[in-house]
């Protein structure tokens, strides 16, 4: 009886193993897509063995589309136009594409498998995105939950970026993470300084990458990132600029202001920075100094809940009611926002009330 059970189990296991082997052989022979050519913007061609995702194939060739989820199909950042090849649109892509994008043949590069020659279109800026390695030369506490990092570039040694852009920082696997994670952080330094970048990072509760940066990263450590990404940029106009930020949202604004100062901008600029208490304020001296250096710049910190008994004499409350005071002619104003999604949403509603249109409002895509 036992022998016949064991024989049956053995036969079933043997048949299973045989089919598994058959599948492996079929995958490596029948599913061999051979060499596939990817034509980019009708000019650059890369040839790679087929079978990987388009995102991976491009990454292998040092072309970095933005991606916050590492190709899992959950962030929807790695969009590109596929003019030829790529197969049908997959159900996993549908939630990320609107009707116009579907008509324009936009796809998610992480979901498209390279099985044939493909022709794609990507923004020219993407060719400027590179992988960088750098050494952390300084980590400063800005507040109890915000740190500022300075990273000196080691490979390559210089970066070209525009004020307002961000990098994707790679936190390696560490004690509390099971895999490396990538997160986007705005660059806070002046783009004229090409040999280093600064980042301002607020600790997010339960955040894998911010916990690494706050609790594990040390001065002297080597870090890796890709970039620069993003189109949250200073508009090339003469309009008045109102910057509105909170928390670590100061990063891209600081980069913009330092750039505008270096280039002796004459534009009228107002910077409203919202925080809860005085403990949440930082870089105040730096901003006061910018008031001296920039001809038409005013820095206005606003506290929503100053501590009882504090000597705070500045503005108190939320930012929204103060916007009216600082917007002269709405049609001649551009608003640059950076902060928590809640703050951005509330500020946009108030800007609309003040007749500032969406075309005049700029903010980070990952807020």
């Amino acid at each position: 009886m036992i022998i016949s059970i064991l024989m049956t189990v053995g036969i079933v296991a043997g048949i299973g193993g045989f089919f598994a082997l058959l599948l492996i052989i079929a995958e490596s022979t029948l599913m061999n897509y051979g060499e596939c050519t990817i034509t980019i913007n009708d000019k650059k061609k890369i040839t790679e063995k087929g079978g990987s995702s388009l995102l991976t194939t491009l990454n292998n060739n040092k072309i970095f589309l933005s991606s916050a989820c590492g190709g899992r199909g959950s962030c929807g950042f790695c969009k590109c136009k596929i003019l030829k090849g790529g197969g049908p649109l997959l159900p996993t892509e549908l939630p990320f594409l609107d009707e116009q994008e579907k008509k324009d043949m936009v796809r998610l590069a992480c979901q498209v498998k390279v099985k044939e020659d493909i022709s794609i279109e990507i923004p020219e800026d993407i060719f400027a995105i590179q992988e960088f390695a750098g050494k952390v030369t300084s980590i400063k506490d800005m507040t109890y939950d915000i740190k500022e990092l300075t990273i000196e570039l080691t490979m390559p040694k210089e970066i070209e970026f525009k004020a307002g852009q961000y990098v994707q920082f790679v936190a390696p696997r560490y004690e509390k993470s099971r895999q490396s994670v990538t997160r986007a952080y705005s660059i806070s330094s002046n783009p004229d300084h090409k040999k280093f970048i600064e980042l301002i990072v607020r600790k997010v509760p339960d955040g894998l990458c911010t916990t690494y940066i706050h609790d594990y990263l040390k001065e002297g450590d080597t870090v890796n990132f890709t970039g620069p990404f993003g189109d949250f940029l200073i508009q090339d106009t003469h309009k008045d600029m109102i910057f509105i930020a909170g928390g670590s949202g100061k990063a891209p604004v600081k980069s913009m202001l330092e750039y505008l100062k270096a280039h002796k901008s004459k534009r009228k600029m107002t910077y409203l920075f919202g925080a809860r208490t005085e403990k949440d304020l930082y870089h105040v001296e730096l901003m006061k100094k910018l008031e001296d250096d920039l001809e038409h710049f005013e820095f206005v910190p606003i506290l929503s809940k100053p501590d009882e008994g504090s000597k705070w004499s500045g503005k108190t409350g939320y930012i929204m009611p103060f916007l009216k005071e600082f917007i002269g002619k709405p049609e001649n104003t551009e608003a640059y926002l950076c902060g928590s999604p809640g703050m951005i949403d509330a500020v946009i509603k108030e800007l609309h009330n003040l007749k500032i249109t969406d075309e005049q409002i700029f903010f980070d895509p990952f807020s």
Binding site: C69, S74, P95, R178, R183, R202, D206, G339, S340
Partner: protein
Amino acid sequence: MKKTPQEKKIQQNLQPGVITLTGFLGNDHRFYQDIIEEDKNMLIELCITPDEVADRLQYFTDLAWDSYDGPIIIDEVYQVEYKSYRGKIPCPFLHPGLFPKGTITLRNLFCQKEICWTPLNIHMIRKHCFFEGKGTPHRIEPNEIIEILFCKES
């Protein structure tokens, strides 16, 4: 019972250090489907559906979001605060899309009990009937739902 590769992947995503620092299982060592099964049965006993729980959480979330960055009193019973952070996280159950990072804290001023959830929790309850494992900061005990979230109606 043998688990499919997808089920194994989901169980892995729920562990600490994969999507979030503390993960979604807390000190609950059961397979996620067993946690779901037990909570589903509790909801049936309570005559409430995952959609009704998710709708209720969404109701408080939306009102707290509109109040922006500070506690708000809702229906004279609930003190709710929404803290939002930059960035988004994926669903551990491999659903497409990203969910905003943020924490909503609700204190029922009658029973003085407090619960905490994230936008991702609302999705996981609605689509997967997953309330997280025991011991996580965002676990909502199904048997406390009626007392805490439906105070006025009950």
